[in-house]
């Protein structure tokens, strides 16, 4: 087990810098999820930790030791790839044992480790099969088995579940959680799926275009997004954004509606302020906060609750309300924001005010 730290790490391919100065510390035994849209550089960061990619500047440490010049095999890490990367011609057993054989472990030690991993992952009956004779989920488990038998200081996962169907993904997610509870190995997990990020992470790292936007526990990030990007990326459906102009002690978001700024951030607010409200932070009727009169475009009745889609001053709003007080499409409907649940962002910089 080990702590992983990146200090001042950047990565350029040719002239384009794809990872800008990054500082990350991952604690011993922690499960950290890197999340961000496609192409933001998640895999690149992971591959730099693995040693498959060199960092252009900065220092990477695993268990306190600088590893920039260390070969992947000597970094004491194990990686699970999106496409499993199993050796097609080797049996499940040999796939898991291969790295150990190269390391010249004793035969009975290899046997013991593989059997243990097979037991944890319920692969016992498949040990003699070739990867092509397994289902996607089983292959993914073999890939994890190959990582487990190494007993590494850290697991690195690169979108391990994205080739699986939705149901299997949920199941494997739970298994990964269980695995981490049992093994307590430092893990770095890359995904672009925010549900995976929210459910698996002890802490998550939100990345956008090569920049770490925010690091924090999932609920902390959800409750206190540091920027417009994070606020829009975490949470489903996404947060509603209403660009507005400063007007006295509030922000005018159109149609004469002024959302009052909390006193502590009035000082830091500029002229242009974007107000953000999560769909779930609206209530039907008067809930105490600013009130919106909406013309409902579409209604998605999900049972437990309903999603209303409505236009407001040129913006598209999504409102989540309790399932049975649903208005019809085309009708007028009044909702209000729960007190204290509006977020304020500087429209220019995208940063959250007061954060």
């Amino acid at each position: 087990m080990a702590e992983i730290s990146l200090q001042g790490v950047t990565k350029s391919f040719g002239k384009t810098e794809v990872i800008h100065t990054t500082d990350i510390t991952i604690n011993d035994g922690e499960f950290v999820v890197m999340v961000g849209p496609s192409g933001c550089g998640k895999s690149t960061i992971l591959r730099m930790i693995a040693g498959l990619e060199t960092s252009t500047t900065g220092e990477i440490r695993i268990a306190g030791k600088r590893v920039n010049e260390v070969e992947p095999k000597d970094r004491n890490i194990a990686m699970v790839f999106q496409n499993y990367a199993l050796y097609p011609h080797m049996s499940v057993y040999d796939n898991m044992a291969y790295g150990l054989k190269i390391r010249k472990l004793a035969k009975d030690d290899i046997e013991r480790r593989v059997q243990r991993a097979a037991k944890i992952l319920e692969l016992g009956q498949y040990l003699k099969r070739k990867p092509r004779e397994l289902s996607g989920g089983q292959r993914q488990r073999v890939a994890m088995g190959r990582a487990i038998v190494r007993e590494p200081a850290a697991f690195l996962f690169d979108e391990p579940l994205s080739n699986l169907d939705a149901k299997l993904r949920v199941q494997m997610r739970l298994e990964i959680q269980k695995l981490h509870r049992e093994l307590r190995t430092t893990s770095v997990y890359v995904t672009h799926d925010q549900v995976e990020a929210m459910t698996l992470a002890n802490r998550m790292i939100v990345i956008n275009a090569g920049v770490v936007e925010q690091i924090g526990a999932p609920l902390e990030v959800y409750d206190n997004p540091a920027s417009l990007f994070v606020a829009g990326f975490i949470g489903s459906p996404s947060m509603n954004f209403l660009p507005g102009l400063r007007s006295g002690d509030g922000v005018e978001v159109g149609e004469g509606l002024v959302v009052p700024l909390p006193p502590e951030i009035r000082g830091s607010a500029g002229e242009q302020v974007t107000v953000g409200v999560r769909p779930e932070h609206f209530v039907a009727g008067d809930g105490g906060g600013p009130r919106f009169k909406l013309r409902v475009d579409t209604v998605e009745a999900l049972g437990a609750d309903s999603l209303l889609h409505a236009g407001f001053n040129g913006s598209h709003l999504v409102v989540r309300i309790e399932g049975h007080s649903t208005p019809r499409a085309g009708s007028e409907f009044e909702v209000s924001v729960l007190p204290g649940k509006a977020y304020f962002f500087d429209t220019g910089t995208g940063k959250r005010l007061g954060a």
Binding site: K73, I77, A85, R146
Partner: protein, 282 residues
């Protein structure tokens, strides 16, 4: 065919049977001629049913060779052909798989230059470079040797190119997984790349064996001693002069034997061969 159309079926079969006969008839004539005596062959019309000189003719060519033209026994020629075809096939595979491995998995200065220079030699078959190659072979003193027969034909752009294409379909992650598992390039090559290339190697072996076996111009040029003749050259040398002076029965027996090994290789390796051309076990 799902539908039952008798006329079309008959027609299709007629066409196919004609095709088979067109191919098989010359073979049959060759075989029949190899079992006759010289006198029987030159009678008109030639008999189309095997005679009783099968053993006599084959024993003679295998042990003593023909009396006119070349007198080397065909058994020696078969061994020479076998050595040449095997060396060419294995040599080509060994060299091209290694160079393809280097080109695909290593980043070295001039990588694409080397790839393209290998590729360009596709345009230079033996026949085009035969005079300079002969000069080099003669300077090296490998005329009339097995090495001389095989070596100049071993470098293969085609096989290198095919292996390169195959390696590029192996996912990068496999190499990365092996790197994390601690396999260096040599281990990766032996433990992962070679087993994955098995069927491709087998398919290429069949093609290259036949290519090597059928070599004509190069062996013709560099073998002057009869003990180095390949069987293809042997046939040519037996056809020494005018029609009447050729021992056609012996020539036909030799031709039959020259046919056998490539046919055998194809039949024995058919399963692998087809697999290598169509499979996608990745």
């Amino acid at each position: 065919m799902v539908e039952n159309r008798p006329v079309r079926d008959v027609l299709a079969h007629a066409v196919l049977i004609t095709g088979v006969l067109l191919v098989a008839f010359p073979l049959w004539v060759t075989f029949v001629a190899s079992t006759l005596t010289f006198e029987q062959i030159v009678t008109v019309p030639m008999p189309l049913w095997p005679g009783d000189h099968f053993l006599a003719n084959y024993t003679q060519v295998l042990t003593a060779g023909s009396e006119k033209g070349s007198s080397a026994p065909v058994s020696t020629m078969l061994v020479n052909s076998l050595i040449m075809a095997l060396s060419i096939a294995t040599g080509k595979i060994a060299i091209s798989i290694l160079s393809a491995f280097a080109i695909v998995y290593f980043r070295f200065p001039g990588r694409s230059f080397f790839f393209w220079s290998v590729f360009v030699t596709l345009m230079l078959p033996v026949e085009v470079r035969i005079i300079p190659t002969f000069k080099v072979a003669s300077d090296l003193g490998i005329l009339n040797t097995h090495v001389g027969l095989a070596l100049p034909l071993i470098a293969s752009a085609t096989a290198t190119f095919l292996f390169r294409q195959f390696f590029m379909t192996i996912p990068d992650e496999l190499a990365e997984a092996a790197r994390i598992d601690g396999a260096g390039p040599v281990r990766f090559f032996i433990d992962v790349v070679l087993p994955l290339s098995k069927t491709h190697m087998a398919a290429l072996f069949v093609i290259l064996f036949i290519y090597g076996w059928n070599q004509y111009l190069w062996p013709l040029l560099i073998t002057t001693s009869e003990s180095m003749y390949t069987v293809v050259i042997g046939i040519k040398r037996m056809i020494a002069g005018g029609d009447a002076s050729n021992e056609w029965h012996l020539i036909m027996a030799t031709a039959m034997m020259a046919l056998m090994p490539p046919a055998l290789v194809v039949v024995l390796m058919q399963k692998w061969f087809v697999k290598g051309l169509v499979e996608t076990e990745k």
